[in-house]
């Protein structure tokens, strides 16, 4: 994933219209890049669903052997729907090579040009991510729709309009949250040389705690030291759940009413914190960086 258009272009003429035009050009270049890989086009997107196939078979076997009709409130069909929905969430919240790209940019010094020029690096990254995501959706919409349609039997009836609105809102917020969390992560490179291991550790925790592997509700029976507080409750306080679990649970009707409102509010709180942290880290990091000179 490359930032194919220079940020100078975005800033070169004043006014917002040229910026929009260069953003549009970035979009088309990105699209061309994607289309250049012919076989990747359909096959690549479909291949991403393969791990889910294995998971579905696994859970089916689990349900077959246990005498329960549901696990932590999820029937077998629910689980299939859940995994598919987390794929959709991940399509919004996953930021491939964002942290890695930022850390590389810092390490090899190309971040200098953003310090000298009146360009907002984070703003630029956000804009380019939006472009990349849009391209991804254009390319992936057909395989996704095909799979979801094919599996429609596993889904419960569609929720009401208000829930759908909440769902869409949570998706958009998860995009922003995912972006700012990983951007902050990448900026650790201002202080540490070996960032890839830290990034990997983050990915590990995120994978485990975001509900990507299993619905967080399944941790509800696991006690923590504190009475009345299960492991699920603790994990759900963290921001990770919004990158996979939360929107999926909303659509499936596992989170409703006040709980839903609280969840959205918490998501917004975490987003504000993430943006704030990101800005702060950038400010401190660039101060430290330019202190080194040269």
């Amino acid at each position: 994933m490359s930032e194919a258009v220079n940020p100078e272009v975005l800033q070169s003429s004043c006014g917002w219209f040229p910026a929009v035009r260069s953003w549009w050009r970035m979009l088309t270049i990105c699209l061309e890049e994607r289309l250049a890989y012919r076989s990747d086009f359909a096959l690549g997107t479909l291949m991403r669903f393969l791990p889910i196939v294995t998971q579905v078979f696994l859970w089916t076997a689990v349900f077959a052997a246990s005498s329960r009709a549901d696990i932590a409130g999820y029937s077998r069909d629910n689980i299939v729907a859940y995994y598919l929905l987390t794929m959709v969430t991940r399509a919004f919240s996953s930021m491939p090579s964002l942290a890695g790209g930022i850390s590389r940019c810092i390490r090899d010094g190309s971040v200098k040009k953003y310090l000298i020029q009146p360009v907002d690096y984070i703003g630029f990254l956000l804009a380019s991510r939006v472009a990349h995501k849009l391209v991804y959706y254009i390319v992936a919409i057909i395989p996704f729709a095909a799979v979801l349609f094919f599996c429609r039997a596993y889904f419960p009836p569609a929720p009401d309009g208000l829930t759908i609105a909440a769902y869409v809102l949570s998706l958009l917020l998860s995009f922003l949250l995912g972006f700012f969390l990983e951007a902050t992560l990448g900026m650790i490179a201002f202080w540490f040389l070996e960032v890839s291991s830290i990034i990997f550790a983050y990915m590990l925790f995120q994978y485990l705690l975001s509900g990507h592997m299993f619905p967080i509700d399944m941790l509800a029976d696991i006690p923590t030291g504190i009475s009345g507080v299960s492991l699920a409750d603790v994990v759900r306080l963290l921001p990770f759940e919004y990158t996979a679990y939360f929107p999926a649970a909303v659509w499936l009707g596992k989170i409703t009413g006040w709980e839903l409102v609280r969840g959205l509010l918490l998501e917004i709180v975490w987003l504000v914190i993430a943006i704030g942290t990101c800005r702060f880290v950038w400010w401190r990091g660039t101060k430290r960086y330019s202190g080194f000179g040269g």
Binding site: T28, L31, E32, L35, A36, R38, F41
Partner: protein
């Protein structure tokens, strides 16, 4: 499988009608073309080599001269067995190269300019040792040859350093040594002096000449530098657009491809306008120095007249520079080729 009689015969390399084609896809430009590119791709055929015939005897030193993309490297890759041809046959030391028989691979060596075959992070001495293992060289013999070659090129102090720390010229020398350690009967060199400074080029030229004489190795060297050719060999093969344009000695190129000579006059004073031009030859006047192109058959006639007409301080009669002849050759063929290719592109989907 190889033919025993071939080893004793003089023909070390026999090539007949060797041809190699590649199919290449054009990358679409622009968004709409990219979408169309999903369903339909324009492709064309590149004729890297078009039916080449060649015969090389034992101990010959042959240079293949040609511009980039002429097919020289493709030719060497075919003879080394790296790729297989679309058509035609070849035998090197009696073997079919692309069968890649171990027996064959032990008897030749390939050195590619700017491409490393030595281990990047290890000192050359290690690479040499590995080479000995792979080629199963007798240790006593190996030590003797290695020391001799290292001595000749004066690189003894470089053997302990990792190869990546050395300059291009130094690396090239070590590559050459590595190639000769197993005493190959045939040596293929692909643009060995490319990117090297003049001194390094000269050293390598000397080295190659000496080695070739001493061990009567058959050498095929590709290059686009005239200097390599002039310094090293008598037989030149000019390659352009995948075909052999000329195969013979260097001097004969001049005879074959040009009909005139360059006459340079150093006059006492710059000539008056039109004074030289009236003779009717194409000429270039630079102050007191005049250079004319005169058809060979007319030199004997024209020269005395020219000398008589001016105050001449110095005169020289020379062949058209080789570079120029060859460059013209390349250009002429290239133009013809481009026309043919353009026609083919329209025909292919």
């Amino acid at each position: 499988m190889y033919d025993n009689s071939e080893t004793k015969s003089a023909r070390v390399i026999e090539v007949n009608g060797l041809a190699k084609e590649y199919r290449v896809y054009d990358k679409p430009e622009g968004l709409w073309a990219s979408v169309r590119g999903l369903f339909q791709r324009k492709n064309r055929i590149i004729h890297a080599l078009r039916g080449v015939d060649l015969s090389v005897g034992r101990g010959e030193f042959l240079a293949m001269l040609g511009p980039n993309g002429a097919g020289k490297t493709t030719f060497l890759k075919l003879l080394s067995g790296i790729i297989t041809p679309t058509q035609g046959t070849a035998r090197v030391l009696g073997h079919v190269p692309w069968d890649r028989a171990d027996e064959f691979r032990r008897r030749f060596a390939l050195v590619m300019g700017q491409k490393n075959q030595l281990w990047w992070d290890l000192p050359a001495a290690e690479s040499f040792r590995l080479h000995q293992e792979i080629y199963r060289i007798d240790p006593v013999r190996f030590a003797r040859i290695r020391d001799e070659l290292v001595d000749m090129l004066g690189v003894a102090r470089l053997l302990g350093q990792p190869v990546r720390e050395l300059s291009l010229g130094e690396r090239m020398k070590l590559e050459l040594i590595a190639a000769l350690l197993h005493e190959p009967e045939v040596l293929f060199l692909d643009e060995p002096t490319i990117g090297l400074d003049v001194v390094a080029q000269h050293t390598i030229h000397e080295f190659l000449r000496h080695i070739q004489k001493q061990r009567s190795v058959t050498v095929v060297l590709t290059t686009h530098y005239m200097k390599d050719v002039a310094a090293l060999c008598e037989r030149v093969v000019v390659v352009t657009g995948g075909t052999i344009l000329y195969d013979g000695s260097l001097e004969q190129i001049v005879d074959q491809f040009t009909s005139h000579k360059v006459v340079t006059l150093d006059l006492e004073s710059p000539p008056a306008a039109g004074q030289i031009e009236r003779f009717g030859f194409s000429c270039e006047v630079n102050g007191p120095r005049v250079s004319l192109r005169i058809d060979r058959s007319r030199i004997a006639d024209a020269l005395p007249k020219l000398l008589a007409s001016q105050q001449v301080r110095d005169v020289s009669v020379e062949d058209v520079p080789l570079e120029e002849i060859v460059a013209n050759l390349f250009r002429g063929v290239a133009n013809r080729q481009a026309d043919v290719e353009a026609k083919q592109e329209v025909e292919a989907v």
